[in-house]
Symmetry: C2
Subunit: 203 residues, 2 copies
């Protein structure tokens, strides 16, 4: 991005720097890839693998996940339906800011409620919000169970656990479905990369 | 950022993409310039002028201000002391995310309480949070009064208006003080640019 970058198609228009100007500079379009799916379906793993590939392609990407949101911005929120709704509302707003800033924004949250995801979609312009169902049957998720959460949920130690004691509402018309019970991580992130190329997110 | 960018000092290490790797790619260090000061002191105007200069220098910058935060992420918050505190807390968290993402993040909020600003500072690493007092006497601010807010406050129509009916706690040790009663906008944003160069935020 420094003065030695070669592209010269950036001109200054009066007023504030526009999203379009940032995107010209960044050689990419800001979007949000909103990954949704059960716990252990592979959302974070796929997001991190895509992040790696985007970085190697010199693209600017940022992952919002439990690690950097639940312990920060949303640390005041629990797991009641109301708090889950507010959790996703704030994540949607932050993703909209990152998208406006020009980033390829990846969100990796279970986000089980259709209405909450649809609200996040409404914060963005058409084409900015790419809903990705990371689709994996619960038996496979439960077999993986990397954090032992399903085990705890079955023992009744985790209340309102999605897929066990709380509902998961799959998207009705997601932009993409990743069958993460069948696809490997590399194949899954390749599907997303291909989509970003096709939709000219990568300029 | 596309494949035709020339810098070649980006190598891949196992695991997730690190902040340092993003910064190498972006040729800048992520920081937050936290502008604080009275209403009409010039925070937003200076932030937008700096944004313009950074863009012309091909730097990635994003401004968080009332327009994109108060009507989005923080639209559920009012102006009570508790809501003001939560407003600044969330802005601090979002600024920390943008800083981690590698952006030169500008925040332009009155942020009148010292404790709230200090809390935002604590969210970031040393050197990441650059507190900028946009210093302007209230008489000058009131004379400018571009939105007619001081007039309304004097008429008692705006409760808890900073400097009139609510306190402004100036920073005790800000990294920078901009005397915006004396400096023009261009001079003010130049001071900030120079600081960013000196501190090697611009690589």
């Amino acid at each position: 991005m420094s003065a030695n970058v070669k592209a010269t198609n950036v001109t200054w228009h009066e007023g504030v720097v526009s999203r379009e100007q940032r995107q010209d500079l960044m050689k990419q379009r800001g979007v949000t890839l909103w990954l949704t799916g059960l716990s252990a379906s592979g959302k974070s793993t796929i997001a991190r693998d895509l992040e790696r590939k985007l970085f190697l392609d010199r693209r600017l990407c940022y992952v919002l996940d439990g690690d950097n949101v639940r312990h920060g911005l949303n640390k005041d929120l629990g797991f009641s339906p109301k708090d889950r709704e507010e959790n996703i509302r704030r994540i949607g707003e932050v993703a909209a800011l990152f998208t406006d800033a020009g980033f390829i924004t990846l969100t990796a949250f279970i986000s089980p409620y259709r209405q909450d995801r649809d609200n996040a979609r409404k914060l963005m312009k058409p084409g900015d919000f790419i809903e990705v169902l990371v689709d994996c049957d619960i038996a496979t998720c439960e077999q993986r169970d990397p954090k032992g959460l399903y085990k705890k949920a079955r023992e009744g130690k985790v209340p309102e656990f999605t897929g066990i004691s709380a509902p998961y509402e799959a998207p009705l018309q997601p932009e993409l479905v990743i069958d993460s019970a069948k696809l490997g991580v590399d194949e899954a992130s390749n599907v997303l990369m291909e989509y970003l190329r096709e939709k000219k997110v990568l300029l």
